[in-house]
Structure formats: structure tokens, C-alpha cells
């Protein structure tokens, strides 16, 4: 599969500060989460992909274009939602989105039509006619998101798309992003600090730290546990089931959320669990394969980097 983003030994220095340090990265189609602590180089990497900053060394291609020489062509085919609360004062929501379309080269009338369609897609009702200056943070996020997709880009770069959103709005936005990727074939790069967002929608994860790619892997691979394990939720006595399982010689640990994690090298672990539940006279409410938390992966990568610049 051809990579949409291909970076080879990219370095970017600002005077004495090395923002990107020999970054090697391949990003395929789908939704990719870009993670990293503050100052890791995420924003620099995004600006580099947009062609707004030139790398000090290395080669980079994005959608088949040379990032150094063809920034304009790249920006023509992508949508970018900045993290900053940026807007053009004095414009209504719909005019702000229309203006973004016009900047991407769509004629004015066509851009207005598309702006209305996109705002419908973003579930923005009559508020679209109000001045952007009067919007709440959540509404401004919607306008930024609508502006990023009004010209129907094939690749979306979203910088902290859910910051400042309430849980309901956050969930809705994540659903929209998932829809864009699954139904409309868009590829998305999400830079965020909110790990549950990444866990909820991303196919691949890239972790940047100190200007280097510390990890680049599919989410499924990252969260897979070392040995087969299950997470069990029961209707009644958890301790009785834990005791019964221990008798079957499996590793049992209680989780703070009232579940049990059971691990064993035995391929017959599910049968063992059902058998123990029968012995303990406990009803199992759910039995799902256990996964490593992304937070654990992130923390272990950032603090104890495996130096893996792999392919997603």
C-alpha cells in the first residue's frame, strides 16, 4: 500500500532548538492519531506537512507531492483544523465557512451552497447566521471543522479537534470523523492529548517525543496484551469468581472499575472461566478480550522509549 505521508530523516531546527530530529514516518490511509507530550514537535510536524515550514534536512512527501516544493498543491487537497481559536472577526458562521471555500478556489456561490451543506452535516442550525465572535468554544470548533472540510479534501489534519467540547459534542464530532473516514474515504491525522479519542476512532498511532518518532504502530497491535487475557464483569459476587479462578491456576487481578482481568497462556482460558463461574455459581455479564490501555502504552513509550520508527 502506498503511503500518504512519507518522511525520511526529517530534521527541523529553530536556532538552537531541534524541533524534529531525524523523523522517519510512513502514514497509510485511515485515521492516524498523532500523540506526544507538549513540545514533542507535533505542531512543527503539521506545519511541515502543510508546507508552511521547510525542513532543515531530509525528504518528505505528502499525497505524492514534495513537501518542500509543492506546498500549494498539498494545501489544495487537504483540510486543516487548527488548534488555536482562530476566526475572522465580523463574519457570520456560514460566511466564515464560505470564505474558507473561496480561499480554496471554489467560486463564491458554489462555496455558499457547500457551506450550508457542511453546516447541516455538522448539525449547525440557525446559529450559523450569528457572528463568529459571539460563538461558544464548541460552536467555534464546529465552524473550524466545517471550514476544514468545505472544499471536500481527501486528507484531513485535525489539531486537538475535541478540546473544549462537552462529552456529548465530543462524541458527536468523533462520530463525524469516523463517518468521513469510513463512508467518504477520507484519511485523517488527529493530533491530540486526549487518549480516549485516539482509542475510540484511530486505526494507527504515532507517538512523538523530543522531536523523534518513538512509536508508530496500529492501535490493535499496540493494545494487544502479551498473553491471552479477558476482562470479566459479573452480576453478583466478584470475589467468589476470583477465588474459583485462582483454583484453576490462572492469573487474576481485580480492577478498580469492578471487573476482573484474567490471564493465562492456556488456549482453553474461556472454557476455564465458564467452568469457574459455574463452580462459583456466579453469572457472567460480559466477557471480552482484555486490552492494554493506550495511556499505559503512551506513558511507557514517552518515559522509556523503544526508538521504533516503524510503519503504520
Amino acid at each position: 500500500m502506498t503511503s500518504l505521508i512519507s518522511l525520511k530523516q526529517i530534521t527541523k531546527s529553530f536556532k538552537s532548538i531541534r524541533a524534529l530530529d531525524g523523523v522517519d514516518l510512513e502514514v497509510q490511509a485511515g485515521i492516524t492519531g498523532l500523540l506526544g507530550p507538549n513540545g514533542a514537535g507535533k505542531s512543527t510536524l503539521i506545519k511541515l506537512l502543510l508546507g508552511l515550514v521547510k525542513p532543515s534536512s531530509g525528504t518528505a512527501s505528502f499525497l505524492g507531492y514534495d513537501v518542500m516544493k509543492q506546498g500549494r498543491q498539498i494545501r489544495n487537497r487537504i483540510g486543516y483544523m487548527p488548534e488555536d481559536d482562530c476566526y475572522i472577526s465580523g463574519l457570520s458562521g456560514v460566511n466564515a465557512v464560505q470564505f474558507s471555500g473561496c480561499l480554496s478556489g471554489i467560486p463564491k456561490t458554489e462555496s455558499l451552497r457547500r457551506a450550508h451543506e457542511i453546516l447541516d452535516f455538522c448539525d449547525m442550525k440557525q446559529e450559523r447566521y450569528r457572528m463568529v465572535d459571539t460563538y461558544s468554544t464548541g460552536m467555534r470548533q464546529k465552524i473550524k471543522f466545517a471550514s476544514a472540510i468545505v472544499h471536500d479534501p481527501e486528507f484531513l489534519i485535525l489539531d486537538e479537534p475535541t478540546s473544549g467540547l462537552d462529552p456529548e459534542e465530543r462524541e458527536t464530532l468523533l462520530k463525524r470523523i469516523r463517518l468521513l473516514a469510513s463512508k467518504m474515504g477520507k484519511s485523517v491525522l488527529i493530533s491530540t492529548h486526549i487518549l480516549p479519542d485516539v482509542q475510540a476512532i484511530c486505526d494507527d498511532v504515532v507517538i512523538l517525543s523530543q522531536g523523534k518518532v518513538k512509536l508508530s504502530e496500529s492501535l490493535a497491535t499496540l493494545t494487544r496484551t502479551a498473553e491471552p487475557s479477558f476482562c470479566i464483569r459479573v452480576l453478583d459476587n466478584l470475589d467468589r469468581l476470583a477465588d474459583a479462578l485462582e483454583k484453576h491456576d490462572v492469573e487474576v487481578s481485580k480492577n478498580p472499575d469492578g471487573t476482573l482481568t484474567v490471564a493465562s497462556q492456556s488456549p482453553e482460558l474461556p472454557e476455564t472461566i465458564w467452568s469457574a463461574a459455574y463452580d462459583a455459581q456466579v453469572s457472567i455479564q460480559s466477557l471480552i478480550p482484555a486490552r492494554n490501555s493506550l495511556e499505559e502504552v503512551f506513558l511507557s513509550t514517552v518515559t522509556d522509549p523503544p526508538e521504533n520508527g516503524g510503519t503504520t
Binding site: 506545519k47 482562530c86 475572522i88 472577526s89 465580523g90 480561499l103 480554496s104 451543506e117 467518504m184
Partner: protein, 340 residues
């Protein structure tokens, strides 16, 4: 599947040419500027002087026709001026404008074509230099300061530069905003005055006599638009607060011209002559320092374009404007690049 393809119409992908992307920036800037009541009021007031100058052209042409009737009765060539009626008409209406003396020389000739061309040029130059210059000072003072400072404050740079727009296109789009208002407040009225003058003239032979005037108006517009817009946008790019840019704009004009007026005052006191006495104005020190005033430099350029000063007389103003424009554009470009 395209995002916008909702089924009720076919998606058209007729993008505008990349050569005109700046137009969107200009368009939205004009729309936002027109939301200000003060801008609308100034634009309306910019057209008031047209009536005074139109009346001036009417009286000039009336005097010429009267002169020609008199010539016919005396059996003299119609293209030769025979009376002082024209000179009197101009003197009565425009003698209080500085530089009126420049016009006197032409009355020594009796060639009607030359007199008409010179008088029209002079009248249009005064139209540019006196009422419209003051109006433009206020108009740009209201429009330009917020153009870039507001983008800095609201961090809108990323909205522009994450699109297929270059920094030069951004600057060009922004410069077009004050330029359009300047054109609407000066060039368009000046061209309309020229057409009014043509309509008031006795016959179509006036057109070949004055064909150069519309060109001079257009060139003078460029001379006015480029330095003023560059300075105004440069000031706007230096701050997040448009009121500071607004204050700086008036300060640049006020301080420069104030300093020059101080030199004029000091010279007149030294020479023991009244303020603005021709000997004072033509003194070496006043001429040499004239270019510190943006207003004088623009006036010098306009005098050169309308043919009332030679390059040797106006080079200081022209060089000063060129320097100010180059400095402003360089600083503006650097400021636009720095937020990245």
C-alpha cells in the same frame, strides 16, 4: 464519495483560477469595511467635492464658449483665446488653492488646446491633492488599521495559510481593500469629472486635446494607492490592537507634515516674510525638507504626473515615497511570515 454530494445536484468542481485566490481576501475585506457606518459616511462625503469641481469645469467651458463667440464676431481664429474671461473664471474659483501661480504661465499663450489641457489637468490635480487627499487620510485611517492586526489578534493567519494561498497573495488581497476605496473616492470621481468636462465642452475636438488626462488620473491613482496602502498595512501588521495602528497612521501623517510646517514657520520668521510666502516656499531649506511630509511627497508625485513639476523638482518626493513603500512592504512581508 465527496462530502458535499448529497444527491440533489451534481457536484461541480469548477475551481477559480489560482491567479484570483487573492480576490476572496479582498472581497471579504471590502465587505467587512462596509459594515462601518463611518466608512459609508466618508465614502459619501468623498463625492461632495465633485459638485464644486463640476461647476468649475462648467464655468471654464462657458468662458471658452463666450470667448469663441467673441472671436467669431471679430473674425479671429476660433482656436485662439482672445479675452481674459477664461482666466478670470478660473481665478475667481480656484485662486485660493496653493500652486495657483503654476497655472498663470499658460495664460500667456493664446492656444486654446493648450490652455484647456493645462487648466483641466490643474483642476484635476487640485481635486486629487486637496479635498480627496484629506478624505483618503480619514478613509484609510478607518479601513486599513484592522486589516492585519485583527488577523493577528484572532490568529486567523492559519486559516489563510493552510489554504493554497501564498503570503504575497495574502498581502496583495489585503492591499486591494484600501486600494478599492481609494479608487472609489478619487479615481472614479476624477474620471467622472473628466467626462463631465468633455460633455460641457463645445465639440468632440476636445477629446484629442485632452486624451492624456485619463491616463494621468490612472497613473496618479497608482502613485497614491501603493505608498498609502503599504504604509497603512505595515502599521496594521505591527500590532494586535487596531487602535494603535489607527493612531500610528494619523501620527505618521501629522508628525511628518507638522515637522515640515515648523521648518516653514522657522524659515519665514528668519526671512521676515509671511508664512507660505512664495520666497519662503521656494527657499532651499523648505524644498529640501519637504519630503519628510508624506502629504508633500504625494503632492510632489502628483504634480509630476499631472505635468506641473519636472523630475528635477520632484525627485526628493518620489525617492522618499519609493523608500517608504519599499521599507513598508519589506517589513509587512516579514511580519506576515513571522507568525508561522
Amino acid at each position: 464519495m465527496p462530502i458535499n454530494d448529497v444527491g440533489y445536484r451534481k457536484l461541480k468542481n469548477g475551481d477559480t483560477s489560482s491567479l484570483f485566490r487573492w480576490f476572496a481576501i479582498c472581497d471579504i475585506g471590502v465587505q467587512l469595511a462596509l459594515k462601518s457606518k463611518w466608512v459609508k459616511r466618508i465614502m459619501l462625503s468623498a463625492w461632495l467635492p465633485v459638485t464644486y469641481w463640476a461647476l468649475g469645469f462648467f464655468l471654464v467651458e462657458k468662458a471658452i464658449v463666450a470667448d469663441q463667440i467673441s472671436a467669431m464676431s471679430q473674425g479671429v481664429d476660433l482656436n485662439q483665446v482672445t479675452s481674459l474671461a477664461l482666466q478670470e473664471s478660473i481665478t475667481n474659483r480656484f485662486s485660493f488653492f496653493p500652486g495657483f501661480d503654476d497655472l498663470q504661465e499658460v495664460f500667456n499663450t493664446d492656444d486654446l488646446a493648450e490652455i484647456r489641457n493645462t487648466v483641466w489637468r490643474w483642476m484635476l490635480m487640485t481635486f486629487f491633492r486637496y479635498p480627496q487627499a484629506i478624505i483618503i487620510l480619514f478613509l484609510i485611517g478607518f479601513i486599513a488599521p484592522s486589516l492585519i492586526s485583527q488577523d493577528i489578534r484572532s490568529r486567523a493567519f492559519l486559516l489563510y495559510f493552510s489554504r493554497p494561498i501564498s503570503r504575497l497573495e495574502y498581502i496583495f488581497g489585503k492591499i486591494c481593500v484600501p486600494s478599492i476605496f481609494i479608487i472609489l473616492a478619487t479615481t472614479l470621481p476624477a474620471l467622472i469629472l473628466y467626462i463631465i468636462a468633455l460633455l460641457m465642452s463645445p465639440d468632440i475636438s476636445t477629446l484629442p486635446q485632452t486624451w492624456d488626462i485619463p491616463l494621468r488620473i490612472i497613473i496618479a491613482t497608482f502613485g497614491l494607492v501603493i505608498p498609502t496602502s503599504a504604509v497603512a498595512l505595515m502599521l496594521s501588521s505591527l500590532t494586535q490592537e487596531s487602535r494603535f495602528a489607527n493612531f500610528s497612521w494619523f501620527a505618521v501623517w501629522g508628525l511628518g507634515h507638522g515637522a515640515w510646517l515648523t521648518i516653514v514657520l522657522a524659515t519665514s520668521l528668519q526671512m521676515g516674510l509671511p508664512l507660505f510666502h512664495p520666497d519662503v516656499m521656494q527657499s532651499e531649506i523648505v524644498s529640501n525638507w519637504s519630503a519628510i511630509s508624506l502629504y508633500n511627497s504625494l503632492g510632489s508625485l502628483q504634480s509630476y504626473i499631472f505635468g506641473f513639476e519636472t523630475f528635477a523638482e520632484s525627485w526628493r518626493g518620489i525617492i522618499s515615497l519609493f523608500g517608504i513603500t519599499a521599507f513598508s512592504m519589506t517589513l509587512l512581508y516579514r511580519r506576515i511570515s513571522s507568525p508561522m
